[in-house]
Symmetry: C2
Subunit: 329 residues, 2 copies
C-alpha cells in the first residue's frame, strides 16, 4: 500500500450527480407534489451538489410521476455553478427541456438489444438514430449532451455484455461529439474486477470524454464498485438521494447507490465531495413522508459514524455495583 491509494482520498475531488428526482421518483407510485420536488432540488444544490438530474421530459402518460417536468425545471431557483440536467428520450423531449432551461440533456439507450427493445421499444440502431437527431437539436441550441448507456455491466435478460460491444456504442456517440458518457450498471450486475477493467479501458481510449459511473446497490456491491472505479481513475458518479430507484427485476432489493451513503463514506476516507453532509441528510429525511415509505439508505437511520449516543443513565451506578462486587469477591 502506498501513501495515496484508493482507501486514502487525500483530498482528491469526486463529483456526485444526484439522480434521485429522476431515476428515483420515476419508480414511485405516490406523486410527489411539484413544490416539494422544487424544494428538494434547491436543497440538493444548497448542500453542494454541482449536478442534479431534475426530471425527465418523457410523455406524461408514460411516467406520470414526472408529468410536471417543465414546471419543476422552470421554477427552481438556480445556483451558479450547478448543472440542472434532465433525461430526454426524443426530439420532442429535447425541445421541451431546452425551452425549460435545462443545462444539459441526458440521453439513454441500452447496449443490450433485448433490454433496449423491452424498455424503449426500439432496436439499438433505432435508438441511436433517434438520439442522433436529439444531439443535433441540442447542438443547435448550444446545450451539452451526456449519454447514459444502460446494461454496460450486464443485462438482466442477456447476461454479460462484452465490453467491446458497449464500447462500440461509446465510440458512435463520441463521434457525434457528446460531452459525456455515463456507464450504467442498470440492474446491479457490476462487480469490482469488471469495473476496474472497464473504467481503465474507457478512460484510456477516450481521454476527451467526461465519464460518469452509475451503479445500483441491488446486490450490495454499490460502494465497492464506486471505490473500484475510483481506483481505476473515475471521478464522477451518479447517486440517488435516499438510495431511491429500484429495479423491476429485483423487487425488494436496494436501488441506486445512495448519495448520502456515498458522500459519508468518501468524506470519511478523505475525498473531497464538496458536499455538506448534514444539509444532504436533512434533504434525505424529507423523502419518506413524500414517497410514503422508508428509503434504502442507511445514514438517515443510523446517523453519521460519530453521531454519538448518551451512555445509559445508570452508568455510574452500574460501575459502582461492578466495583463493589469485585471488592466483595
Amino acid at each position: 500500500m502506498t501513501a495515496q491509494n484508493v482507501w486514502r482520498g487525500a483530498g482528491r475531488r469526486i463529483e456526485i450527480c444526484d439522480v434521485g428526482l429522476r431515476d428515483g421518483l420515476q419508480m414511485e407510485a405516490q406523486f410527489v407534489p411539484t413544490q416539494d420536488k422544487i424544494v428538494l432540488v434547491e436543497a440538493l444544490a444548497a448542500a453542494g451538489l454541482t449536478k442534479i438530474e431534475v426530471t425527465s421530459f418523457t410523455s406524461p402518460t408514460a411516467i406520470p410521476a414526472l408529468r410536471d417536468a417543465e414546471i419543476v425545471m422552470r421554477e427552481i431557483v438556480r445556483r451558479p455553478g450547478v448543472a440542472y440536467t434532465a433525461l430526454v428520450p426524443n426530439v420532442r423531449g429535447a425541445e421541451r427541456a431546452i425551452e425549460s432551461g435545462t443545462d444539459e440533456l441526458n440521453l439513454v439507450m441500452s447496449v443490450s438489444e433485448t433490454h433496449n427493445l423491452a424498455n424503449l421499444r426500439m432496436t439499438r440502431a433505432q435508438s441511436f438514430a433517434a438520439l442522433s437527431q436529439v444531439i443535433a437539436v441540442a447542438r443547435g441550441a448550444g446545450v451539452p449532451v451526456n449519454v447514459s448507456l444502460s446494461c454496460v455491466f450486464g443485462c438482466p435478460m442477456e447476461g454479460d455484455v462484452p465490453h467491446e460491444e458497449a464500447f462500440a456504442w461509446v465510440q458512435r456517440f463520441a463521434d457525434l461529439g457528446v460531452a459525456g458518457i455515463t456507464l450504467c450498471d442498470t440492474t446491479g450486475m457490476a462487480y469490482p474486477t469488471q469495473v476496474v477493467q472497464a473504467v481503465a479501458a474507457a478512460l484510456a481510449r477516450w481521454p476527451q470524454l467526461a465519464f460518469t459511473l452509475h451503479f445500483h446497490n441491488t446486490r450490495g456491491l454499490g460502494l465497492a464498485n464506486v471505490l473500484a472505479a475510483i481506483d481505476a481513475g473515475a471521478t464522477r458518479f451518479d447517486a440517488s438521494l435516499g438510495g431511491l430507484g429500484g429495479c423491476p427485476y429485483a423487487p425488494g432489493a436496494s436501488g441506486n447507490v445512495c448519495t448520502e451513503e456515498v458522500v459519508h463514506a468518501l468524506q470519511l476516507m478523505g475525498y473531497d465531495t464538496g458536499i455538506d453532509l448534514p444539509a444532504l441528510l436533512a434533504a434525505a429525511r424529507r423523502l419518506p413522508a413524500l414517497i410514503g415509505h422508508e428509503v434504502p439508505g442507511q445514514i438517515t437511520k443510523a446517523g453519521q459514524r460519530l453521531d454519538l449516543h448518551p451512555p445509559p443513565p445508570g452508568l455510574p451506578a452500574i460501575r459502582e455495583r461492578a466495583l463493589a462486587r469485585a471488592a466483595a469477591a
Copy 2:
C-alpha cells in the same frame, strides 16, 4: 494497478465464519425452534462454511432466544473440518460449552470502557480478569480460544477508540496465549482508511495470532471494509446469514455484513471462499419464515448477478412493430 490487487482475487483463499445463529438470532424477538437451528447449522456446514458460531452459552434468562444452546451444540451432526464455536461469557458458560462439545470458545469484551460497562456490566479490567479465568479453563480442557474485541473501530458512546488502546487489549490476550483475535466493528463505525491502518498494524505486530475481522453494514460500508481489510492482508471474516444482527443504536439499519452477499461478491472477484453459493442461498431463504420478517441481505431478493430473467413474451412483436414504424417513416 498490478495484475494481482484487491479487485482481483486470483484464487486467494478467504475464510468466512458465519455468526448469524449467534449474533443474529440473539437479537430476534421470535424464538427459532431448536430443530430449525440445527438444520441451519448443518446447512451452513454442508454449504462449505468451515467455522460456524452456533450459539451462546449465556444465561437463558439474559438471552432467551439462545436458551437451547446445549441441545443445539450437542445434536448437530458434525462435519469433519468444520469448527463449531460458541460465545462464552464466563467460566460457567465455558464449562457448559466444553461439556457440549464446542470446538472453540469465543470470548467477548469491549475496548471501550463505557460500552463494556453498558453491555457487560463490568469494567474492562473486570472483564479481562473474568475472561482470563475462562481461558485457563479452556486451556485445561484443550479447547482453543478466540477473543472478540468490540468497538475496535469506534464506540457509539465514546466515539473513536485509539488503535493503541485497542491493541493494548490484544497484547494482554496474546500474552495469555489465545489462538485468535476478532477485531469487531460492533456498530458499523469502521471505514476503509481506518481499517487498512488497523489491520496492517495488527498483522505486523502479532504474526502468530489468527485475526478475524467482524464488520457491520450499519452505514453501508460493510463490503468496502472487507475489501480494505483484504488489501491490508486479512483473510478471515465474520459474516451473518441474511445479514442478521442489528445494532440497538441504529434501529432500522442493516446488521452484520451478510454472508451470502460477501460470498457472492468475493466469488465474482475471483476469491476462493470454498462455499457453495446456491446451497448458502437455500439456507438464507429459510430465515424469513423462521424469524418472521425479511432479512437485510440482497441476494435472496435479487438473485445472483447472472440469474437471468426471460425477456417479455411480446418481444418479437415489439421488434416487428419497431421495424415497421421505421420502414413507414
